[in-house]
């Protein structure tokens, strides 16, 4: 089966007459990791939520293989890791995981140390870092063909971030991933293609020095 292509085009978003997104175009095919960088308030999270379908844009065109997608999450087409925790506190991890994780990935997920250690617990019983790891792993192993990761490296230690990068790369063999984080070095390492959100527009970065040119990095 040929890889699916997620296209995001002509997204426009404004809050109180302030234009956040105005000229956004990106394309992600299954097998690819797209890194999304940008300063605070540049609209990275808003863009991911528009693609996922939980934030209403003034205008957007989101499609998978040419089919317009109104709400990305419907029918498990797109999964999204928000910046905050999203699991209900009063249900065991094992029961939550069974609802999210793809049955074809279940054995792989079930073999993960962190899941085996905490499957019998509830989210409220885990530390912030442990919960973040499990939340991310559930999204990565979900049924969706495209995965949006909003700050996956935040709240986890550097060594855990290093452990996750191969997991993300392995996941990208069968899914398309769009990932954003302020730890830009992790994004640069894990991504096939980097896009910078600058003044509401997407700039496709071909050389990391362009991040200095566009004022994202200081260059010092």
């Amino acid at each position: 089966m040929p890889p699916l292509i997620l296209k995001v085009d002509s997204v426009q978003l404004a809050f109180n007459d302030r234009r956040i997104l105005q000229d956004v175009h990106l394309e992600c095919r299954q097998g690819q990791v797209i890194g999304l960088l940008g300063r605070n308030g540049s609209g990275k999270s808003s863009l991911l939520r528009i693609i996922f379908g939980t934030l209403q844009a003034s205008y957007k065109y989101v499609s998978i293989n040419g089919d317009f997608i109104h709400k990305g999450y419907q029918n498990n087409r797109i999964a999204y890791l928000p910046q905050h925790g999203y699991l209900p506190d009063n249900i065991k991890i094992s029961k939550l995981a069974k609802m999210l994780v793809d049955e074809y990935c279940w054995d792989e997920f079930n073999a993960l140390d962190i899941y085996r250690q905490h499957s019998h617990k509830k989210p409220g019983q885990l530390s912030g870092g442990e919960l973040r790891q499990l939340e991310m792993l559930m999204i990565i192993h979900s049924r969706a063909g495209f995965i949006l990761l909003d700050e996956p490296f935040t709240h986890i230690s550097p060594i855990q971030a290093d452990e996750f990068k191969p997991v993300i790369r392995a996941c990208a063999k069968r899914k398309g991933i769009i990932i954003t984080d302020h730890q830009y070095y992790n994004i640069l390492e894990v991504s096939d293609k980097v896009i910078l959100l600058n003044n509401g527009a997407t700039k496709h970065i071909t050389d990391n020095d362009e991040l200095i040119t566009y004022g994202y990095l200081s260059g010092k």
């Binding site: 999204y80 928000p82 209900p88 029961k95 939550l96 999210l100 979900s142």
Partner: protein, 103 residues
Amino acid sequence: MRRLTTLTLQYYRSLLLYNITFTILCVFLIGLGVGTNPAGFFFSKLIGFAAAAGLHYFSSAKTYFYYRNAGLTIRRLYVYAYLIDVAVFILSTIIFIICRHLF
């Protein structure tokens, strides 16, 4: 279907405390003869459910991403949870009326 049922029950369970409060209130109102017509019966339950869902939204809106990541829209979740709620309400009302006649 089984997955959908489990997700709906998981959501309904998170509403349980609010729902018990509103359901008991409605059952007593009906038991006291305040709202005996079927329209009033379902309307009072709808108001009770909406209040419970509203309270849940303000306290746990972040968890909606869990249900969305499972592929469900929140509107669909509300509808299914309401149907479960009405079934629980009818059952508890019947039990209450039977008990009132017996004792």
